[in-house]
């Protein structure tokens, strides 16, 4: 009776095989079948490839390397570390697998050389095969990372003004800092209570440090770490706590009271200042007095009351000869035109360009000294050009305000430019804008010496008839905007009237606007 029952512990194949002892071959075959089934059921295989993780030297005299094994294939797997070294023939095995723990290799002083390259490989092997990791190249100079400093102690020194914290520690025990082989540097960090803001300080090579920015009533946490030469920083040491008592509590209320009182005082002072800001402003920044023209009220002019303006501008004074010197009268030049529409319409526009010292109502530019800048004049030209009434100025002239005014009785003073002289007793005055100074310079072509002529008659408003010994009156009357019955038969623009004054100078008076 050969009844053997074999149970295969695979969930899918729960079958019992009954084999008869007689069939040995069948048994062998069955055993083989069993084995393969067993292998398939537990998936045993060659080991997976291990990976070398890192190496580290804590004091630049020894070093340790760690690896990560791959899958073990279900079988007991052993790992071996082999290395080759620069300037050393042959392949060697790790001298110490135990001192540094599992999956590690420790190289002691005899097996460590600095400034040479090591090539490490780890081989995992089990019953079914081997697996070798990728080679790992390293130089001890590059893998230096010390242990954390130890024995960190804190001591609070309570002084009158503020407390201070003294920290002391020891270098890591395995590091030799006395022989000059390595230079150690320390760093510490401090945090208060439970915040996450660490404040870091470097300590150089000293094993103590003092903190002065500590305040009472808090719990301080301190940690220290170190560095060797040009390597990596160690881990932070264990944390150490210290609580600083707040013995200064009773002094606080007084300082708080003082600060509150001064704050109240400041606020009150500020409120008072704000309430009286106008007077403060006047006191701090006194208004600058502007230049004043006698007889001229700038606000009146700006408001644009034309009758008043006209009256204001009329001055009673006598005039020196026509080409009087401008230099003496530097102030208060004024050009006046009787084109009142223009005046009123432009005065509003001109508000900002009205300068008390220089009221200009038209664009006549005097090329000699003028208190106004040329730009202002030109600006006004443009403004008046833009102002598209297209009215040429009826009556343009200069008004000069002299300080030493004699009692003269001149109604108004206007100057007009002579446009043309017809024969020797007819003067046509220009009505359009003139580009240059407009004093009347009388020049006759016949060679008659320059002198003054008496005006006989003024026809229309730009025609002046001068007296001649044998003068034949040529009068041109204008109708509308052009001449008729005029010997010249030239179209003219509206004219300026002139009136004879007692002294015989050519003066013009503003004629009523003809437009």
């Amino acid at each position: 009776m050969c009844q053997h029952q074999f149970y295969v512990a695979k969930p899918a194949l729960k079958s019992s095989v009954t084999v008869c002892a007689r069939m040995r071959r069948d048994l062998r075959g069955a055993l083989l079948l069993l084995l393969t089934a067993a292998v398939q059921s537990s998936s045993m295989s060659a080991p997976g490839k291990p990976v070398l993780l890192s190496c580290r030297s804590p004091e630049k005299e020894t070093f340790t390397c760690w690896w990560e094994p791959g899958s073990d294939g279900g079988l007991p797997t052993t790992h071996h570390l082999y290395y080759e070294r620069e300037r050393l023939e042959g392949t060697y095995e790790c001298p110490d697998y135990l001192s540094a723990g599992r999956n590690s290799c420790f190289f002691d002083k005899n097996h460590t050389s600095i400034w040479v390259d090591y090539y490490l490989t780890v081989m995992a092997s089990n019953a079914l095969g081997n697996a070798t990791s990728d080679p790992f190249k390293m130089d001890v100079m590059e893998i230096v990372k010390p242990d954390a400093p130890g024995n960190v102690t804190l001591r609070v020194e309570e002084r009158e003004a503020s407390p201070c914290l003294h920290v002391r520690w020891m270098p890591p025990s395995n590091t030799d800092t006395k022989s000059g082989w390595v230079t150690i540097k320390y760093e510490l960090r401090v945090k208060k209570d439970n915040s996450n803001n660490w404040k870091e300080y470097t300590s150089g090579t000293q094993t103590h440090f003092s903190l002065y920015s500590v305040s009472p009533g808090g719990v301080y946490t301190v940690q220290v770490r170190c560095l060797l030469d040009h390597g990596s920083w160690s881990e932070w040491s264990n944390t150490t706590f210290v609580k600083i008592s707040n013995y200064l509590q009773n002094e606080r209320p007084l300082s708080m009271l003082i600060s509150i009182l001064s704050a109240i005082l400041f606020i009150m002072a500020g409120l008072i200042l704000i309430a009286k800001r106008k007077s403060v402003k006047q006191w701090v920044l006194p208004p600058v007095p502007g230049p004043k023209i006698r007889g001229i009220n700038s606000q009146l002019l700006q408001s644009g009351g034309s009758d008043d303006v006209g009256n204001v501008l009329i001055i009673k004074q006598s005039f020196p000869p026509i080409y009087f010197v401008w230099e003496d009268q530097m102030e208060d030049y004024l050009i006046v035109t009787e084109n009142e529409d223009w005046l009123s319409s432009n005065s509003q526009k001109r508000k900002k360009s009205l300068i008390p010292a220089c009221f200009h109502f038209d664009s006549e530019i005097h090329s000699k000294e003028s208190p106004c800048h040329q730009n202002d004049w030109e600006k006004d030209e443009e403004i008046s050009q833009v102002d598209n009434n297209n009215k040429p100025f009826t009556n343009t002239g200069y008004v000069d305000f002299q300080r030493n005014v004699e009692n003269v009785d001149v109604k108004h003073v206007d100057y007009s430019r002579v446009k043309e002289v017809k024969s020797d007793n007819i003067i046509f005055l220009e009505k359009e804008k003139v580009q240059s100074s407009g004093y009347i310079h009388f020049q006759r072509q016949e060679g008659i010496p320059e002198d003054y002529s008496r005006v006989k008659e003024v026809e229309s408003d730009h025609l002046v008839v001068l007296q001649k010994q044998n003068a034949a009156d040529l009068s041109c009357k204008d109708e509308g905007n052009h001449y008729t019955d005029c010997a010249l038969h030239k179209p003219r623009k509206p004219h300026v009237c002139t009136e004879l004054s007692d002294s015989g100078y050519v003066d013009t008076i503003p004629a009523p606007p003809l437009m």
Binding site: K60, E61, E84, E86, R87, K109, T112, S113, I114, W115, V116, D117, Y119, D134, P135, F136, K137, D139, M141, D176, T177, K178, S179, G180, W181, T183, T205, D229, H230
Partner: protein
């Protein structure tokens, strides 16, 4: 009157002659002798500190340049080329550990330092030239290369001064041959470095500058131990 003038001028002439003769007789000897008042003599301790600082800075620059090169060229960290990197200073026997360095005699250690510094004089100069011509590198790297080159020069002079002082003070014997004829120390097959690539040159120099710094520190702590050790 003329007699006094003559005597005064004679005195002046004598003084001048004396001064000039003193100056000429000084020659190459140091102006400050030990114990002279008002003369600032650098102690050996001070000299050592200076050269150590100098070497630390030199090593820092070489590390920076090396990491910059690594960024550009990205050599594989685990390259299999084991025989690939042989530094041209491999022929110089250097102690490879703390005990070996401490066991070495002072004169020998000083000589090793000087040999290393001399061996790097030409390669660094050519390295700087090749960097200046390559427009891949920015001015910063090229400046660093020049600085490195200058520092090797200055450091070598500094170490020679230290060795001189040690000899004067009797700390070491006069057997340091490098001071006599530096060119003797150059390795016979010194043209090896021309075959090296720039990256390998930097790698080797970073290592050698670390060696120089370490050896100097060991020397200092052995000869003038103080708080700095």
């Amino acid at each position: 009157m003329p007699g006094t003038i003559r005597s005064v001028s004679l005195v002046w002439v004598v003084l001048l002659v004396c001064l000039s003769s003193r100056r000429t007789s000084v020659g190459a000897a140091p102006i400050c002798t030990n114990g002279q008042v008002g003369c600032h003599v650098l102690s050996l301790d001070n000299l050592f500190d200076r050269v150590i600082q100098h070497s630390a800075r030199m090593h820092g620059i070489s590390s920076d340049l090396h990491s910059e090169f690594e960024q550009y060229f990205l050599p594989s960290k685990n390259q299999i080329g084991r025989v690939g990197r042989i530094c041209h200073t491999s022929t110089i026997i250097t102690p490879n550990g703390k005990e070996n360095a401490q066991r070495m005699a002072r004169e020998q250690l000083t000589e090793v330092i000087l040999k290393l510094l001399i061996a790097w004089r030409d390669p660094l100069w050519h390295f700087h030239q090749s960097m200046a011509h390559h427009h891949d590198f920015n001015n910063f790297s090229s400046n660093k290369a020049l600085e490195m080159n200058d520092m090797v020069h200055e450091l070598r002079q500094g170490v020679e001064k230290v060795a001189e002082k040690m000899q004067v003070l009797g700390i070491i014997s006069n057997s340091v041959t490098s001071l006599a004829s530096p060119e003797v120390l150059l390795p016979s097959d010194s043209a090896d470095w021309r075959l090296m690539k720039d990256y390998d040159l930097l790698y080797c120099f970073r290592r050698d500058s670390n060696k120089v710094q370490n050896y100097l520190k060991i020397l200092k702590c052995r000869i003038v131990p103080n708080h700095g050790c």
